[in-house]
Amino acid sequence: MYHQPYIIHIRLIYISIVCVLLSSCSFLNEEPRSGQAEESIITSAAILERQAVLSLYDHIGGNEDGVGLQGTYRGIYDLQTFASNEAIIPVRGGDWFDGGLWVDLYLHSWSEDNECFENAWLYLYQLIGLCNHSLALLEKHSELLSTERLNCDIAEVRSLRAMAYTYLLDLFARVPIITSEDIELNAIKQSERSEVFRFVWNELQEALKYLPDERSNSRGEYYGRVTRPVACFILMKVALNAEIWTDDDWTDENLPDGKLIKLICDGAEKNAWDATIYYGEQIFTSSANYALCQSQTNCFAVYNETASENIFTIPMDPTVYRNRFKNLFRSLHYQHASALGYGGENGSSATEETLDVFGYGTKHKDCRFATTFFADTVHVNGLPLILSSGDTLVYHPREVLLNLTGSPFVANAGARMSKYAYDAGGIFDGQLRNSDIVLFRLADVYLAIAEAKVRNGQDGSMEFETVRTREAIALGAFQEPRDATLENIYYERWIELMWEGWHRQDQIRFSRYVEFPQERYETVFPIPLKALQTNSNLSQNKGY
């Protein structure tokens, strides 16, 4: 009797604690609002396609370092450009040393933990991972789509994934092939380069029959997307590089012979060069009507969505997309850029070799030099640009050095990037622009066919000359005739495709990338250090 109130109190507390425990089951559940579960989003065919297919195209360009195929810093484009002898970012006194990053790329003295390798690896495998997720999503919600639509969507995603693998094939060679989103770490194994090559080829072969024969570079339903001509372009590139990319030991002197490499093209077996020609011609005969522009500059105009020559681009529009284009920003002298209303970082310049190839300083200077570079006295709005020091801004192309510190030309050595038209509508220092970033274009197809023909023992002069004389004809200028030899094709590619991120691949294919046989291992970059450290199944490429 005496103790009763005490017991009641204890019971009350006990009961209330139990209540709290029971109710806490839902009390502790998370109900996010500003993010949503995938299942709750996909309610219609349109949303499924947007999520599974369109969403992937947000990853072709980028707005942060290392992400995207082109336009940002320290990723794939920088490896293709600054590890080649096309362009250089010299140390300029207090600027651009960056812990030796650019010097290392230029001298091929990189270490395994170079951030560009890391970025390229992460970016490409992220894109592959997202593609795999998209494929799983399409499969899971396949009832929302007709079989025809489903096949087209799957084909598009697989092509995009194959494209990512071609970059891996080019940069890192021995990479794991991942085709499913549910894969265990232990199951990840590197494939030999030739296996990756075959995988890419077969994937694209299977996808090709479902892809629409539409333009990708024009505004409309397929803007920025992988269509049949885009996939044909990738197949053409894969075939063109077949000798390099099927070589499982690139450190020895043996190279497979392109004439003996057998590739199945739409059911017919062809050698690598015939395959290159075949897929190049598929683009010529496409119902999307590709044609060389009258002038190369049309490809790089402010509103270049209408350029008949462009095949695959990164769509740009400063008010819509987040994709950055920093290549111009990086190259122009500070005051040159600010006179244009941009920002500039006074960095990248043409190398001596590039100047020679363009015939700079000779009477045979290629007429494309003027639109590819800013050199000599800089004019803005028709007037020479006066610097705050009182001098006129003059770029001295021949003064370029790996380290310009102490040079009187520290700030103005080097010919700078032009190529893209001046876009007054650019914002954020000119990084958000209207001109789409050109990834694939028809001039490259002409030159690839010319090269394949020559390598196959045929005559490629028609395709070679078409590209070579185009600008001269447009300008009414004279272009000295040249034979369509492999060497001339190499130089023509250099001139025509300067600043477009192809030169490293070309240098390797034309055996110009390394000086000594023992440096052959440098034609493939090392597997990034972090990838090795976090996955003990991976092994380093030969030579590193």
């Binding site: 008010t319 997309y321 987040r322 976090t534």
Partner: protein, 897 residues
């Protein structure tokens, strides 16, 4: 008396907590004399120099408690640490409990220091057991002043002070810059003027605080109300804070004091003006072309110098506005009832509301086409708990206390922001977003987040013979943030203490007046600093794709989700002793702790593939912390006219990151060996091998891992460059991680010192606070940049640069310096009027103070007081972001009627 304290803790076993050990009047006084001795700080703000805010009080006052540099109030708030860093992920900030209500450092920073009566620092697991996971990184309990029975007071406290910057980097003056560039044949852009930009951006700082408090009480009720206003115009132009607070607390007893109500209200409004980019501001002030005029150009802006692309006109940078208006409101109610039969019960509820309004304005001449950002955030936090306590004595020999506690907590945060670009005019500032012609998709967004916690706890405490105390506690904590099925954690603790002085065989040892021993062990969970929804696979808007000319927003996976996310756990063991000698004229405390952190939450680097993103928040690694803390207090002289007290605390702490490897979803993940934490940046220092401080398993968190420079050497151009040693002897220099680098010191101090010396002579008193840190290093990234002659003419250099003539930006240990320092934090001289009881005036005091009097160090940079604590990208690196060193002189007045 104890029961009236509106404080859950005080209902519990007093001997458990050494912070609670205010037992006899004797000791209380002794502790007051030797403030720094125990972990209860009685705040005598009158005896101190000017206080930036309440956090400033903690600086150097208690062993194991560190507060970052007070030059940047924004950074200071997140820099408070109790026993160092406990987690890699965050949640390293101690829990703040203000009068029993859950709070945070930011709120504490808005409380007027004069309103605070005591700080109690809880460090051991057994001490923090009451707060469970929330107290995983230590607890700072704050007790504010209350009304008292029978007294009605009105008091005013105020101070006014001036701050003066007196120490700058010795950069070339305009004339020296002209002379040197001319001598070297370097063309410059001569603006025709001479400006010392470091001095241009500073002003005489002005600080003032005013505080009025009323209080009183009768037998059954008491109240206290206070309002305060404080203003701090920093020495940096355009930077400062204003803060208005109001606080009311009422305590009322009912039914013969068997029921007690405590009601509190607290509100604060603050307006803050921050620097937009601290590093860019000070980097620019040091290196911007000194020949440019310090005046606006014709169009009202400031001329930039495009060639120096990494910096800008320092005065122009100050035109960028980064303003914040914050509002905080809190109310709480506690009801405590004495049920009888040894039982007391209490229920408690508190609600806090925070609102932030951020306005940023970038004029067209500072950011291409101009930009305005507006953002608002709101946060609601509620907490409720119920507790029941039973105490019983069997004769004099046995005393038990048992407690049960249940607690629920929820926090909901929402926010939105928008950004506009291409401003029509700079004249509108941030007041009309419509002046921006361009609204980028990425510039607008909103957010929602909810987190909830539930806890139950039981505790049992038994004291035998008044001297042996055994305490065990067990609690279950659950958090919504953890993954489904992993939400609950079980966290027990145990503690024993022995009051040896009460043993008969020590009763007669007169010189020993106090001897307490204690030992404890506890397990704590931590999920602090973790955002909600990390265990869920979520889609968030990520970009735009176009279909048929129209933009479509696409949604992407936000992160690698972790469906196994659970509590990070810390096991702590500690032993300690408190000794008092000669009537407690000399007091000594010693504590040793060892803690082992496992299932450590961290954004682990995971392999891609198979993962899509390279980071996942998971529970893998392990870390350990240990430390030895000494507190020493001596009342050296104690006469009618003279008092001399010396307090000193010394902390040795060691941290070791043991492993970042572990099993995740059944797969063994291995971490990269070297993870950079902090690097140097600036012109010519972007990426590449510019990392300085690393996190490397097997070493302390934050170690310097650098190439070794054997000295300067002359290159073929006749310039001095750093000669780098080929450490691995492979014949060439590889500056990358794993190449020619070595571990050469740690960024966090090994030993921390805090000391207070106070002297009273009659009505005059003098108080000096010394703080020091030892055993760590600082990377002088500022000198790396400012000594590089290659930076001329775009970036100004130090006067000494032309003498050494270095032309190299290679990051090596050349600029790694000893970071030891002793800082005289403040010196205060006061005079107290001896008030007679018949006067209306009950106290009157005047004092003058100098803050940041002097720093003794061998460090060659501006100041060694940089971030040596917080694990972020500035840890241990003095990289062009130190504020000019300033001193504050203040005068204060306190009156009470």
């Amino acid at each position: 008396m104890r029961r009236t304290l509106p404080f859950l803790l005080t209902l519990l076993c007093p001997l458990l907590l050494n912070g609670q050990s205010v037992q006899s009047d004797d000791l209380l006084k002794a502790i007051e004399k030797a403030e720094s001795l125990t972990d209860t700080l009685r705040v005598e703000t009158s005896r101190r120099g000017y206080l930036i805010n309440a956090l400033d009080v903690l600086n150097g006052q208690s062993a194991g408690v560190t507060v970052g540099s007070n030059t940047n109030p924004e950074a200071m708030i997140s820099s408070v640490r109790v026993r160092g860093n406990h987690s890699l992920t965050g949640g390293n900030e101690p829990l703040v409990i203000i009068d029993g209500m859950s709070s945070d450092l930011r709120t504490l920073s808005t409380i007027f220091p004069g309103d605070i009566e005591t700080f109690t620092i809880l460090k051991d697991a057994a001490q923090t057991a009451l707060y469970g996971a929330r107290g995983a990184s230590g607890v700072i309990e704050v007790r504010t002043r209350r009304g008292a029975e029978g007294k009605f007071h009105v008091s005013y406290a105020g101070d006014v002070g001036f701050a003066h910057a007196d120490h700058f980097l010795k950069m070339l003056s305009a004339d020296e810059y002209r002379a040197l560039t001319n001598e070297r044949g370097i063309k410059i852009a001569d603006g025709g003027a001479a400006t010392d930009w470091q001095k241009a951006i500073v002003r005489t700082g002005f600080v003032q605080n005013h505080h009025i408090a009323l209080g009183g009480g009768t037998e059954n009720a008491n109240y206290r109300g206070a309002v305060s206003y404080s203003q701090n115009n920093s020495i940096i132009r355009e930077m400062g804070t204003r803060n208005l607070t109001a606080k009311v607390d009422i305590t009322q007893h009912m039914f013969s004091k068997r029921l007690t109500f405590d009601l509190g209200l607290f509100g604060a409004i603050s307006n803050n003006q921050y620097l937009n980019d601290v590093q860019k501001t000070f980097y620019s002030a040091a290196t911007f072309n000194p020949t440019f005029p310090n005046s606006r150009n014709e169009s009202g802006g400031y001329d930039g110098y495009a060639d120096a692309s990494q910096i800008n006109n320092p005065m122009g940078l100050l035109d960028i506005k980064k303003h914040n208006a914050a509002m905080h409101f809190n109310t709480h109610l506690r009801v405590t009832g004495d049920i009888g039969y040894g039982l007391t019960a209490g229920i408690y509820g508190s609600y806090s509301y925070d609102a932030d309004d951020d306005s940023h304005f970038y004029p067209t001449y500072m950011e291409s086409t101009g930009k305005v950002y507006r953002g608002a955030g709101k946060s609601h936090l509620w907490l409720t708990n119920a507790q029941l306590r039973y105490t019983h004595d069997w004769g004099k020999a046995h005393h038990i206390e048992a407690d049960l506690l249940g607690e629920l907590q929820g926090r909901t945060s929402t926010g939105f922001h928008t950004t506009v670009n291409r401003l029509a005019s700079d004249a509108f500032g941030y007041y009309n977003l419509a002046v921006g012609g361009l609204r980028l998709w990425e510039g607008t967004g909103s957010s929602y987040e909810q987190q909830r916690m539930a806890s139950v706890m039981g505790r049992f405490c038994y004291t035998a013979l008044g001297r042996y105390t055994f305490t065990v506690s067990a609690r279950g904590d659950a958090s919504s943030v953890a993954a489904k099925g992993h939400k609950w954690g079980f966290f027990p603790s145990a503690n024993i203490s022995w009051n040896m002085k009460k043993e008969t065989w020590l009763q007669d040892v007169n010189w020993l007046t106090r001897l307490n021993l204690r030992a404890g062990w506890g397990l704590t969970g931590n999920l602090g600093g973790i955002a909600a929804y990390q265990s869920l696979r979520l889609l968030v808007p990520s970009g735009i794709a176009e279909t048929n000319g129209l933009p479509d927003v696409i949604l992407s996976l936000a992160q690698n989700e972790n469906p196994d996310l659970t509590w990070e756990k810390t096991q702590t063991a500690n032993i300690g002793a408190e000794l008092g000698f000669w009537n407690n004229r000399v007091l000594l405390t010693v504590d040793y702790y060892y803690s082992y952190i496992y299932d450590m939450l961290y954004n682990y680097t995971v392999p891609v593939p198979p993962f899509i993103y390279d980071k996942v928040l998971a529970n893998l690694g392990t870390m350990q912390n240990q430390g030895l803390e000494f507190g020493f207090g001596i009342a050296a002289v104690k006469t009618r006219d003279w008092d001399v007290n010396i307090g000193l605390n010394l902390t040795w702490q060691a941290n070791k990151l043991r492993s970042l490897n572990g099993y995740y979803k059944g797969e063994y993940l291995t971490a990269p060996t070297y993870t950079p934490l902090a690097s140097v940046s600036g012109a010519g220092l972007h990426g590449g091998n510019t990392d300085v401080v690393y996190q490397i398993p097997g070493y302390s968190l934050g170690v310097f891992y650098l190439p070794h420079c054997t000295g300067l050497t002359t290159n073929d151009k006749g310039e001095q460059v750093y000669e780098i040693e080929d450490i691995n002897g492979d014949g060439f220099i590889d500056l990358s991680d794993g190449g020619d680098r070595r571990i050469c010191g740690q960024a966090t101090p090994k030993v921390l010192l805090g000391s207070n010396i106070s002297v009273r002579f009659k009505q005059f008193d003098l108080s000096i606070q010394l703080n020091g840190a030892f055993g760590h290093k600082i990377y002088n990234g500022s000198s790396l940049s400012y000594m590089n002659m290659g930076s001329l003419p775009y970036y100004n250099v130090l006067k000494d640069a032309s003498k050494t003539n270095i032309n190299d930006l290679t990051v090596s240990d050349y600029w790694l310096e000893n970071g030891d320092y002793v800082n005289i934090d403040y010196v205060t001289l006061g005079w107290t009027l001896p008030c007679k009881p018949e006067w209306k005036l009950s106290s009157f005091r005047l004092s003058v103070s100098v803050n940041n009097l002097v720093t003794m160090t061998s460090y060659s940079g501006l100041t060694p007081i940089i971030n040596s604590t917080v694990i972020n990208n500035s840890l241990g690196v003095d990289d062009k972001r130190s504020y000019p060193v300033s001193r504050t002189y203040s005068f204060s007045l306190q009156i009470q009627f």
